[in-house]
Subunit: 339 residues, 2 copies
């Protein structure tokens, strides 16, 4: 059976950014959706996830994900609806999780798709608190941070999908959670809605002193997803045997020129003298823990112990601007594009 | 019972060094050895150990050891002979291990001393291969590096007391050992006497390329005790899930001005994208492993499976010059001062 030839829209990388991406680094273009082959499924994207790691794929350098070629479709995960299926496991109308990229329509092999069961309520959680960002927080806390009762856990981007769960998991484990966020509105949310013990505005002129005040017993676990000035403020506060799950470095993804000072020796010296462990990690290394993650976190959400916030914008054409804003912290909660 | 009032010699910190220490930063002075109190022991130092960590104590900054005050005696471990004892556990003529500092004579409480048993043959091994440096290598390899069969282990200062054991332990565990050392003589020793698979001269102009050639399968464990340019050469070669026991940073202990470039972002980026773990450590955190260390390494020495080299100079007055030389790599083997 054939369906009439369909045209979709996609966002491609128009050129490689120099430092901060500009909207002109992206291009929206239409494309003819290919006909289905056996085993394939035609998808219509409902929600596209925008995540900081995508910035890395825009550069032509070694990272844990390959670079997107110039002219290539921006990568990304989405919740999509099955329009047409030539795979026995999927039927039209079903919702799936898929790595479609920044597109309205996609044809993918059925084995690349995961059907969304009833735990994903609303379905957008499959891209946030119950998706890659949530699993990132969970695996970093469980395997690397391992907070103990009474320890102090600090996380930046604390109102975001990773940071918000890091702090709430720390609280569930009896640790003290201190969040870092941009601006008073996010800080209030982190304290009052997410239940962190403290939230510090990294834009405050005396941010390092405020952070030190919020961590009177030092920092036992710093969940690193920003780098830059926040790392410099955290470093002197790290306790003996502190653990640093290294999850992301958003502050340096778009850094143009680096400061004319070498911060590496001081970092290494602190790691040595206070027996600190820094461990780079990626959630996919812990894939076997995904069922337990989904059980734990979906139950804690149902019990009202875990809260989250989503920031949904509309229209694929607005994805580049929203993505650029996210890199500067202008989103508030997990950023999604409804298509 | 009283012995006639004795005068000894000691080396004190004359002033804090700026960058590389100068001999004028040290002062040799005589002192009246205090009379013994109950529970104390009078020691005459036979061998003083000179170790890179002592450089850190010359600066007035936070480290894992407190700074030596200006005018204070330089810290250090020694093998010493008991001259006189008012502690029931020690008798004149016995040899002990003690933290005497850079002195000819010392009065210490008996409980601060450890008698040297017959395993320490010759007794200088208590300061080297069977002492703090050897235990540092052992704990870093056993607890943090954990080399597996077929993995590649790289260590700098490979002819020194820590590095030489790191590589030989790696070989015993079935890993490949690549040493970095300064100059062809040390490299030959590392390969031929210590049995490393390769030894690279860090003074060679094409050192990074030579290191890459010597590690065709990348680096799984880099035992870090130098930092600086060696770290920059190692970083791009580290494999996925590499482990970096961070033991010392001799190249940056005396660095005056830092280069006008920030090497921290690149380091953090590599740790993240290749899921690398860097762990600062100090042997004393693993004190419970000392009996097993002594059993293992003294047996391997007896079996001819572990080799080591000592570099013994004479005279306390020559300690400052020898120490300065060690920081620049001019010693060859574990540096000791016979007094």
């Amino acid at each position: 059976m054939n369906i009439p030839r369909l045209h979709g829209w996609r966002v491609v990388l128009a050129c490689r950014p120099h430092g901060k991406p500009l909207t002109s680094d992206f291009r929206l273009e239409s494309f003819a959706v290919p006909a289905l082959e056996d085993g394939e499924v035609l998808l219509r994207v409902r929600y596209l996830s925008l995540d900081p790691y995508m910035r890395g794929t825009m550069d032509d350098r070694k990272s844990y994900r390959p670079p997107t070629p110039v002219g290539g479709v921006m990568v990304g995960e989405a919740v999509a609806e099955v329009l047409e299926s030539r795979h026995s496991g999927f039927r039209p109308g079903e919702l799936v999780l898929a790595r479609t990229g920044w597109v309205t329509h996609s044809v993918l092999a059925g084995q690349q798709l995961a059907r969304l069961d009833e735990r994903f309520q609303p379905v957008t959680t499959a891209l946030g608190i119950l998706g890659m960002p949530g699993f990132t927080a969970y695996t970093g806390v469980e395997n690397i941070g391992r907070p103990q009762q009474g320890e102090t856990v600090v996380v930046a981007a604390a109102s975001g999908p990773v940071g918000s769960l890091v702090g709430q998991l720390a609280k569930i484990k009896g640790a003290r959670a201190v969040g870092i966020a941009g601006g008073p509105e996010k800080c209030t949310f982190v304290r009052e809605k997410l239940g962190f013990d403290a939230a510090i505005d990294h834009r405050a002129p005396d941010f390092p002193a405020l952070l030190a005040d919020a961590c009177p017993d030092g920092i036992d676990i710093y969940f690193e997803n920003v780098g830059g000035a926040v790392w410099q403020a955290v470093l002197p506060l790290l306790n003996m045997h502190a653990r640093v799950p290294l999850c992301g470095l958003i502050a340096q993804y778009s850094a143009g020129s680096t400061p004319a000072h070498d911060f590496l020796p001081a970092t290494m010296n602190e790691l040595l003298s206070r027996r600190i462990t820094v461990t780079g990690f990626i959630n996919s290394d812990f894939a076997a823990q995904r069922p337990k993650f989904l059980d734990d976190v979906s139950r804690w959400i149902a019990e009202g112990r875990i809260h989250y916030r989503e920031n949904v914008i509309s229209g694929l054409e607005n994805a580049p601007g929203a993505f650029i804003g996210m890199l500067e912290g202008s989103n508030f909660g997990k950023l999604l594009v409804e298509i």
